[in-house]
Structures are given as C-alpha cells and as structure tokens.
C-alpha cells in the first residue's frame, strides 16, 4: 500500500466537517451578537410556529427557539471538547502506563479497561449521573468515565508497537529516563492517532451527553442545552419545531466531528488506521 499523499483539505468530507464545525464555533463565540433574543427571556407568545420574527418558532414559555439553539452551542461545544480532552488525558495516561511498564501493571489496567468496556456505556453513564445527581457537570463526568478506555487501548497498542523501535531503545541505552521515553520519544508516534480518535470520539461523546440531558440527567432548566430542548419537544409532538431544530443542531455538530475524524483516519497510514479501528 502506498501512502496516501493527500492533505485533509483535499478530502471533501473533511472540508464539510471543518466548515460545519467552524460555523458552529463562530456561532458559539458570537452568540450574543447573532441571537435575535435572550435565550431565557420569555419575550414572545408561547409555542408560536416558525414565522418571520421567530425563525425557529417559540417554546412553551415563549422563548425564541433560534436563540436557544444558538446559545446551546455555547453549552454543548465546550462541554464536548472538555469531555473529549478529559477522556483523552485519562485514557492516554492509563494506556501509556500499561503499555510502557507491561507486566502485571499492564494486565491489571487492561482488565480494568475491559470491565469498563463491558458495561453498556449509556447505562453506566446513566447510573453514575443519577447517583451523583442530575447536573450537567456530573453528566460530563459520567461520559468521561465511560469514554476513556478506547484511548487507553489505542495508546497501549501504539506504545507496545513502538516501544522497541530502535530510537527508543537507543535513547534508553543512553540513560534517558522513563518519562523522557514516554514524553519525548514516543509522543510523536502516539499523538497523531490519538487526535484522530479524539475527533471520532467527540461525536460519540456529544451524543451521549445530549442523551443524558434528554433523559433528564444532564442540563437543568432553564439552560438551553440541545438534548434537554429535544426532551421538551418530546412533550409536544405537534409543535415539531421544538424538537426538530435542536435535534438538527446535535446532528450537524456530531456529523461534522465524524466527517472530520473519518477523513483524518483515511489519511493516516493504513496500519495505524487499522489500530484505530480496533
């Protein structure tokens, strides 16, 4: 297999993904400028269908749905980023320790990883979120708790395969410390795949987080969280705009991450791409 020389920009899906993400990030940053109204102000008639003034209609207490969707980006995007980074950190550290030290440390950590993976993610997250109390912060924690093993697996595998590479061995022979080996010699080989995994996982994390909010285990009213907004829409099928727009917001944001992650995986060399798939 020859190496694919393409840059991510050449991949149409990656371009679409980056574009959508950029739009959402801009929306999140400039929400106060873009949003036609305060997302928690009950400024309008209740349950108005989309019209020239409220493009996405209004909700059951007269808030502008468009403004809430726009402000929702300020909740969902940073939280998704945060949980991806946290899961990545935790998973990488555990995977690195397991892969580098091997032996019983590896065995113990990997069994633990297996156990967490054996749990149905959503249900474990529900249990943890419920046990800690329905709050967005706890929901993020719950999602991190079920998301890190994927990274740990990947990092461990990558370390195992590159640990004995010549440059690492020689650096160790020269008396380099363990931390040096982990952070200087091995890091470049690991960071690429880990970031691709993070891009792929961001979408899943976002889905899980909004799912918890939908189930009433995440965001609290009156915050404009997309999952919670869909949940409100679930009480009013006839008022389709309540659920459809925040749902589309989740869909597009998750799709953007998945497009990006998928395209990034393709431009990694095939062996790493395979490691990612496993």
């Amino acid at each position: 297999m020859r190496k694919n020389p393409d840059s991510p920009i050449r991949q149409p899906l990656a371009v679409i993904g980056v574009t959508i993400l950029t739009i959402w990030i801009l929306i999140a940053i400039f929400a106060p400028l873009i949003a036609p109204s305060n997302p928690i102000a009950q400024n309008y008639g209740q349950l108005l269908p989309p019209n020239s003034h409220n493009w996405f209609g209004t909700d059951s207490v007269g808030r502008d749905v468009l403004s809430r969707v726009i402000y929702g980006a300020r909740i969902t995007l940073p939280l998704s980023m945060m949980l991806v980074i946290l899961a990545m950190l935790v998973g990488t550290v555990i995977g690195a320790i397991a892969g580098y030290f091997g032996g019983w440390i590896d065995a113990a950590l990997m069994r633990f990883t297996d156990v967490v993976l054996a749990f149905p993610g959503i249900i474990l997250a529900m249990a943890v979120a419920a046990a800690l109390g329905a709050e967005l912060r706890n929901a993020v924690f719950a999602v991190v708790l079920v998301a890190w093993p994927t990274y740990a697996r990947l990092v461990r595998g990558l370390i195992l395969s590159s640990k004995n590479a010549d440059y690492v061995t020689s650096s160790r022979l020269l008396g380099a410390s363990t931390t040096r080996a982990l952070f200087v010699d091995l890091r470049p080989n690991i960071s690429g795949p880990v970031f691709v995994l993070a891009a792929l996982e961001a979408g899943n994390g976002m889905l899980l987080l909004s799912g918890l909010s939908f189930l009433g285990l995440g965001a609290r009213p009156p915050s404009a969280e997309w999952g919670a907004m869909v949940s409100a829409g679930a009480n009013n099928f006839d008022k389709w705009w309540l659920a459809v727009f925040p749902g589309l917001a989740i869909l597009t944001a998750v799709l953007a991450f998945n497009f990006l992650g998928d395209a990034l995986r393709d431009i990694l060399d095939p062996r790493t791409a395979k490691a990612l798939r496993e």
Binding site: Q46, S60, V61, A134, N236, F237, D238
Partner: protein
C-alpha cells in the same frame, strides 16, 4: 413523560366472564355502530400504584375504581360538591353533623352475584381506616356500624360536615367482604400488617360497579369489561382499555382515533388539534408557591416581607396565560368550586413597587434561593420545569434570584414533606371535595403548613379560625369563615396561591356525555 410509572404486577389471570369477550373479540378503535361490543380506548399517563380502593389515592386509580366499585353516594357529571344517591338511596344526619344514617338499596349485587349488604360497607370502611394507607386519614374520627342488613350509620367524633362528600370518594368503594376476606383481606385494627388482599384486588375485581377488571398492569394497560351482573343499567361500552401513553403521543392518538379519550393534554396541546371534541373546565387543582417560614431553614424566606415581596412580584395574568385556556388565578388556596372560595376580586394583584419596597425591608442581598419542584414532572398538562422557569423570570424582575432545583419526584416529595426546602412549587388536589380539606392542611402546624415551616404557634388568629370552622354547622357562617381564613393566608403566610389548572378532556367525536370531574377526571359509566 413526567409522571412516574411505577412497578407493575403480574398480568391478570383472566377467568370466567372475560373469556366470553376476549376469545371472539374484534378490536374497534373508532366510532362503532353496534351498541354491544363497543370498546373505549383511553390514553393516560399512569400514576396509579394499585387498584385496591382502600389503598389507592391517585386520580388514575380513582377513575378505574369509580367504575369497578360502588360507593354509598356519588357525584354526577362535573359536579363534585353535591352527592347523589348510589348504593344508599337516601341519608340523613343529626343537627350537629356527628351521626349520619344511610339507607341502602336492596337490589345491589357484586359481580359474583352476592348481594351487597351493610356488612360489606362496614368491612370496607374498617379496612380503609385500619390499613393505615395513604387515604386512611379520610376515616379519621369516623366509625361505621350496621344496625341492620341495609342500614349503615357513620358517627363522627367531632362534627364533620364533609361525611357525605367523603363517602362519595372512590376510597370508600365497597368491596365484597367475603371474597376479600377469603383472599387475605383484614379490616380490623392491625390491618396495616395483616391485610394481604392488595395483590388479589389488583387482579380480580370484588366490586358491584358496572365494570370489572380484566387486565391490570401498573406500567402498560388496564382493561375493564362490563359487569354482566351489574344491578343498574348496563354501560354503553362493553370494554374499556386504559393505556399508559405519554402526553405527546396522546395528542397524536386521539387525532388518529387510535384512542377515544386523552386525559393529560394541556390547553396548549389541544389548541391545534383537529377533528376532536375538547371538554374544558377549571379543575380543583391549586398550584401554589411557598417560602419556608422556618428561620432555621432560611432567614430570608421566613421573613414575612420576603414572602410578601414574592406575592406581589408575580404577574398572575401571565401565569394563567402560561397555563392556558381554562386556567384561572387562584384567589385563595380553596378552589373556586368549593364553598367559601374567594371571589376573583379578592385575588392578589401584581404590585412591583410594593414588592420592591417589601424586599428592601429584608436582609436579602440577591443570593440564589433554591426552588424545589418535581423535575420533569407535569400535572394536568402543566410542566413543572416550564412553570418554575416562568416564575423565576418574573421574580428576577424585582431582584429575587431563584435557583431552580428540579428533583426526581420521590426525592422532591421527601424534602417537601420534611419541610427542608427553602422554597417549593407544588399543587394540591383535594382529598375530599370540601373546603375543610384546605383548612385542615394549610394552617399553621397543619400538614402542608409544617412542610412550609409554618409552626403551630405562628399565627394564633388563623388557628382559632380553623378550629371554629371545623365545628360550625351553619353553611353560611362556614363560608364566611373560610373566606376569612384565605384572606388571612393571603395577607401573611408562607403560601402564595398561583393558579387553578385547567381540566381538559380530549375525545373523539364518537364519545358522548363526557364531563370533567375533579375527583375521577371522567366517569366512565356515564359515557355514551
């Protein structure tokens, strides 16, 4: 979504009469021409926990038990204040309302053919009292005796003008005493541990009403079939299916004719429906806010000036607009249908200036005050989350900063009952349809009063009034006292009555004779 759907019992083992119906049964969901074999499908959010009449205390259970068990007296249509004869053909009471004598009809029979006698009434009432379940307080101070086979005498320790309306409640449903006793029922003192008949009553109906239970599940479906041995006129529908369906789906089902009646729709959900009948009325459910009067819970919320600030900061017309068509402002804690309720003119009106002035007298500095409510919950189509959101934004306008605390219903009820919440948003539906239900709960040191941190010694004037109204036998004087009680409450108490929710029934065009009743929502036996 909101209401709790709790556990569920094994599907009913369906015997005897059901086999006649079910084996050759053809499902009809929409209007049907044949009078016999008509099926009524009702969509509802299940909130019942049992169908044992002496244990159930929720309106879902009320509706079903009303159809299965007869009571001495009952109500007609949407009226819940004037009892009419049922098993008792007539009754009379002594002058000071302590002794009531009921004369029973002789034709009444249970579904197994056994005649209904005064012994069954005494057994049922005794069981209600001694089981010490949720509704047992209804029998507090009352004793039932049977001087002969067709006479029942109820004596009250203290004057109790509410006895006739109480016995019309489904909790006073009369069970077949022999049958229930044979299946673990126990009606004497000690029934709280000795009575084992609940499961039996969830699988088999032991009543004399027009319907019998044919299938019972706490989470999915309850089926009723017409009682072929019913002593009165056979009901119009031979089978009634009550399904557990979320509000949103109810709206779809009833429009498609999959369901004939939707019980839990809000006015806003109904305004866009087409091809259905909407029966609207005001319910007897009163929503209220409380600001805990216990200084150890909060020095802020216990300050009468703070309570007053909250009271005058609220925009009541916006609240009723939020609740939708059919809702009205609750002028006092007693709903409009009952004796002694306040006139709309007596209701609190928004006064921002006054609210700000009162707030200024307090030590409140804008710190967040927790408002506890049933997160995700909805009642009569009103979402707790939305309602709390509206209230918090109104209070924010005068500088009161609420921190919403949506909580699973079980936990929310616990802290509410323990009286540890700083503020709470709740509703009250009457246990029995009489104003006494309010004076005995919302006073200082009373059940709900204590939940709001209102100690018995807090307002001696009001306590005196409550004691006076309890023994007053003149209805006119009673009404005046109830009004005074509520005016006092509105002037200085932790309670702020908000609205009475609308009562709405949505039905397909085929359903005739539907009326909203505050006790059992809809009387299934009246439908045509």
């Amino acid at each position: 979504m909101g209401t709790l759907k709790l556990g569920r019992n094994r599907l009913a083992a369906v015997a005897g009469a059901l086999a006649l119906v079910s084996s050759s049964f053809i499902l009809q969901t929409t209007s049907s021409s044949a009078a016999s074999g008509r099926v009524l499908v009702i969509d509802s959010e299940f909130n019942h926990k049992t169908l044992d009449p002496q244990r159930e205390f929720e309106d879902g259970g009320n509706m079903m038990d009303r159809a299965i068990y007869d009571t001495l007296l009952t109500f007609k249509g949407n009226d819940a204040s004037k009892p009419v004869p049922s098993i008792a053909l007539s009754y009379n009471s002594n002058a000071d309302s302590t002794v009531y004598t009921f004369h029973l009809r002789k034709a009444a029979r249970f579904s197994d053919g056994t005649p209904l006698t005064s012994a069954d009434v005494v057994y049922s009432y005794g069981r209600l009292k001694n089981i010490q379940g949720n509704p047992s307080s209804l029998m507090a101070g009352l004793t039932a005796t049977a001087p002969d086979k067709y006479t029942v005498i109820i004596t009250a320790d203290q004057p109790d003008t509410a006895v006739p309306v109480k016995v019309a409640g489904p909790e006073f449903g009369i069970v077949n005493s022999k049958m229930v006793a044979a299946h673990g029922g126990y009606a004497l003192v000690g029934a709280d541990t000795k009575d084992k008949a609940e499961n039996f009553l969830n699988t088999t109906s032991a009543g004399s009403g027009p319907y019998m239970l044919s299938k019972f599940s706490l989470t999915t479906e309850v089926d009723l079939i017409a009682n072929p041995k019913y002593w009165g006129k056979q009901p119009a529908y031979s089978k009634i299916v009550i399904r557990n369906v979320t509000q949103a789906v109810q709206a779809l089902d009833v429009q498609k004719g999959v369901a004939n009646i939707a019980l839990d729709l809000s006015p806003k959900q109904t305004d866009s429906l087409s091809g259905v009948n909407v029966t609207a009325g005001v319910s007897t459910t009163v929503w209220f806010l409380y600001s805990n009067a216990n200084p150890t819970i909060s020095s802020v919320t216990s300050d009468p000036n703070f309570q007053s600030a909250v009271r005058y900061a609220l925009n009541y017309s916006d609240l009723t607009a939020f609740a939708g068509k059919g809702s009205i402002q609750a002028a006092g804690i007693i709903p409009s249908a009952f004796q002694g309720s306040l006139k709309p003119a007596d209701a609190t009106k928004q006064n921002i200036a006054l609210a700000k002035a009162d707030l200024a007298k307090t030590a409140y500095k804008g710190e967040p005050i927790g408002l506890r409510y049933w997160g995700g919950g909805a009642w009569e189509g009103i979402s707790f989350d939305d309602f709390a959101t509206v209230i918090s934004s109104q209070l924010a306008a005068v500088g009161i900063n609420l921190k919403l605390e949506p909580t699973p219903v079980g936990d929310a009820l616990t802290t509410y009952r323990n009286g540890t919440d700083t503020m709470g948003l709740w509703f009250w539906g009457p246990d029995w349809p009489d104003s006494s239900n309010y004076s005995q709960n919302f006073g200082p040191g009373k059940k709900v009063g204590l939940r709001a941190g209102w100690a018995a010694s807090a307002a001696p004037e009001i306590t005196k009034l409550i004691n006076a109204v309890a023994i007053e036998s003149d209805p006119k004087k009673r009404a005046a006292q109830y009004r005074q009680f509520q005016l006092d409450l509105n002037a200085n108490s932790p309670f702020i009555p908000l609205i009475q929710s609308p009562a709405i029934l949505v039905s397909t065009k085929s359903v005739i004779g539907i009326a909203t009743n505050p006790i059992w929502k809809v009387n299934l036996t009246e439908l045509k």
